[in-house]
Symmetry: C2
Subunit: 449 residues, 2 copies
């Protein structure tokens, strides 16, 4: 083993990490140390060899004695056996990275929202355990042996499928984002919520597996003149939504799989509708029925809810597509930059109309834009991770991202969106988000542009 | 609501699903009913409306009384609130879908293997909770505040990084498969294990996030003449492996993220090496040190283990790349086809040298091959899901898949592999796998070709 002699001969003070390091709390600290060249000196003086890790809470070894190494217990012990957890769980040190409910947002906890901790996540796949929740009468865990899917209405022959039937059929697997139409709803007025978990956390990216909806409609012999479907859930709310036949025949999936395994109960186990690019409420969970019809159904959740109140006082209805949108997930509201230097600005971009083509980042509130790096090959109607190199000199900065999608559409500024839509909507807020970095390093949510 | 009158007026016998439906047990039943046109009649006579689901264990409603509907409790009740599980879990009905240890395979449970239930999975992403485990001295849950990564050896300046340092640096997110070099080891002799969980279950596909290894080596000022790295883990086994500098500088990642969140403890939390295309043992978990050197290190786990015993009695060493391989995951050993008719043959294909170009399936032991459908856009060194339509007429069938990768390499038959490698190896068995469907419908593991 080649250990440099000058390294083992030194023992510096290794810094204590902030207590809330890696935490999902509202105030999540970002690292206090940069990775610039200046840092190398610090690191070198702190060098104790990888065998000699002395971190937070560890007793310090006597100074100047290179032979007394503070070896952590996990390097000296027999670990846990395999299948200690037949179904694995996150580290105990990640216990704060959880879905969180916004206090007071809804009247009951069953018709409520739990938000995904976007500020702590990486890549484009959302862990199923952290997938946001939005229910209308709570979530249920359905016995798959008792679940059925009916296709009826304007069909040659009504059909009922068991889960076995569906899982025997030709299947597809595709990655798509899922966003609640009400995501970022609270930002229509003032910059209302402190963190990206609450401002944008009704968002996920998953790999979905199931039967193409078009295949099921073919089997039932759907009426070629029928323009609509009613999708109905089996939970107590009996959620019903109208689906355009165009979406249904395009890329919709009657899905039983998510991220490699069966859907989670909160995501509609054993069956949900996947309508890529369309707002989440239409991805009906616990799907039990699809009715083919010749007109929109105007159900409760598309007549009095999930409509957009326009500046002229009229309601815009059936606005299904989630237009292109992006958000910086770190640094973001509630975090704090503890030192000047390099930061990797990271975030997510997506479009309900196809692929992400380009993401740009501004650090001065939209005056100047530079392209971000896109991770992997963007897939249609799926989250795309972007990264952007930034060196913070201690100035007040206004961090923004904007996405261009495959149709040429560019994510609007707040003022552009308000000009078209007013400020009385709840749904479909895809404006550019601004995070302000104060000279103190604190990051908060502001409205700019 | 448009419910056909003739439908509500009938009440047929809905079939009870097999008790082990969706289970991960060794004998997992495949659906007993097909989806061919003949089935539509059955379904129609069984049609009771989606409100009137009567499944396994449900009391039958009186015949001929359309008004008494057996509505399941979850459609009539208030469900559970959001964040009932702040970090979500699978359905209680999926409790059998777990990692499993192969009894007697190893002497201790700490230096053992837990296999992924491939027969129950979908798509290309492996749920982190079901990711296979292979440890050398058990798994540990390291406090990230105490963890350090050292880079030393032939470098201008040795460096030590905290987790905060690393998470502040430029990051990448990429999807890659991870396969243990010993996956399918037991098949070198006879067809030894009953299920695909045990024959191929040391395999996963994940989205990994972390710092490009090349960037860390640049920061340390690695010697341009150095051809090797030693990667060392912080667990009790102190696992050490030699990494070629070519791989290190190409696409290797010092990763902290997997499938959107921090690595799981069993996967090396808080830091592991990702060496795309290379066997799993080199993806050192709990990574604490990288030493730059000018020759291979010939550590225990690359001198006496993880070597290939060749027909001439010599050992082949440092065979890192996982060559192209594929396997049908369903129907597969231990499952049973309960009825003639349509089946969706599904499986996974991958290559350590790049993208999957084509997958073919044979149902007659390799005499005839037809192309399978590939799901999504294959990504370099990542699992690719394939599907293949098949109608089983009740004959004995020999199901095989073979992959062609971007280099033109074609997965070998068993006899081709044995001709080159003999039968005394443990590692790097990428032969075509055969599942036999007997006329009884039972599926077992056989060696053909």
């Amino acid at each position: 083993m080649q250990i440099p002699s000058d390294a083992l001969g030194r023992r510096g003070q290794l810094r204590q990490a902030p207590e809330d390091f890696l935490s999902g709390e509202l105030v999540a600290a970002i690292s206090e140390h940069g990775v610039d060249s200046e840092r190398r000196g610090l690191l070198r003086s702190a060098f104790v060899g990888a065998l000699a890790v002395a971190g937070a809470g560890a007793a310090a070894a006597p100074e100047g004695d290179p032979d007394i190494l503070d070896i952590p217990p996990w390097s000296l012990s027999l670990g846990k056996p395999v299948v200690a957890n037949p179904y694995g769980r996150p580290s105990v040190f990640e216990a704060n990275i959880v879905r969180r409910q916004s206090p007071g947002l809804t009247q009951t906890d069953q018709a409520s929202v739990a938000f995904t901790p976007l500020q702590n996540l990486f890549g484009s796949i959302t862990p199923s355990g952290l997938h946001f929740e939005r229910h209308h009468q709570g979530w249920v865990d359905i016995d798959p042996r008792r679940h059925r899917l009916m296709i009826n209405g304007l069909v040659r022959e009504p059909l009922v499928f068991t889960m076995e039937d569906l899982m025997r059929m030709p299947s597809v697997s595709r990655m798509h984002f899922l966003e609640c139409g009400a995501n970022t709803a609270q930002e229509w007025g003032n910059a209302a919520v402190p963190t990206v978990q609450y401002s944008h956390g009704m968002l996920s990216g998953s790999e979905w597996t199931g039967v193409p909806l078009s295949l099921l409609l073919e089997r039932a012999g759907y009426d070629r003149n029928a323009g609509y479907l009613l999708a109905e859930g089996a939970d107590g709310s009996g959620m019903t939504r109208t689906i355009n036949m165009e979406n249904a025949l395009d890329d919709a999936i009657v899905a039983y799989g998510q991220n490699g395994e069966m859907l989670r109960p909160e995501q509609g186990y054993p069956l949900r509708l996947v309508v890529p690019g369309v707002q989440g409420v239409s991805w009906v969970k616990w799907l039990r029925r699809l009715e083919v019809g010749d007109q929109p159904y105007a159900t409760k959740d598309e007549a009095s809810h999930y409509v957009d109140l326009m500046p002229d006082g009229r309601m815009r209805q059936y606005t299904a597509i989630q237009e292109a949108k992006s958000v910086i997930t770190s640094p973001s509201g509630g975090q704090r930059l503890l030192k000047k230097g390099y930061y990797c600005i990271t975030g997510l971009a997506w479009s309900g109309r196809g692929e992400v083509r380009k993401v740009e980042v501004s650090v001065d509130g939209g005056r100047n834009w530079r392209p971000a790096r896109i991770e992997g090959s963007p897939q249609s109607k799926m989250l795309t991770r972007f990264n952007f190199d930034w060196t913070w000199q201690g100035e007040t900065a206004l961090l923004q991202s904007r996405v261009h999608d495959a149709t040429g559409y560019i994510q609007p500024t707040r003022s552009q969106l308000v000009a078209a839509r007013g400020t009385r909507s709840i749904y479909h807020n895809n404006a550019i988000q601004t995070w302000r970095v104060k000279d103190s390093g604190e990051v908060d949510n502001v409205q700019v542009g």
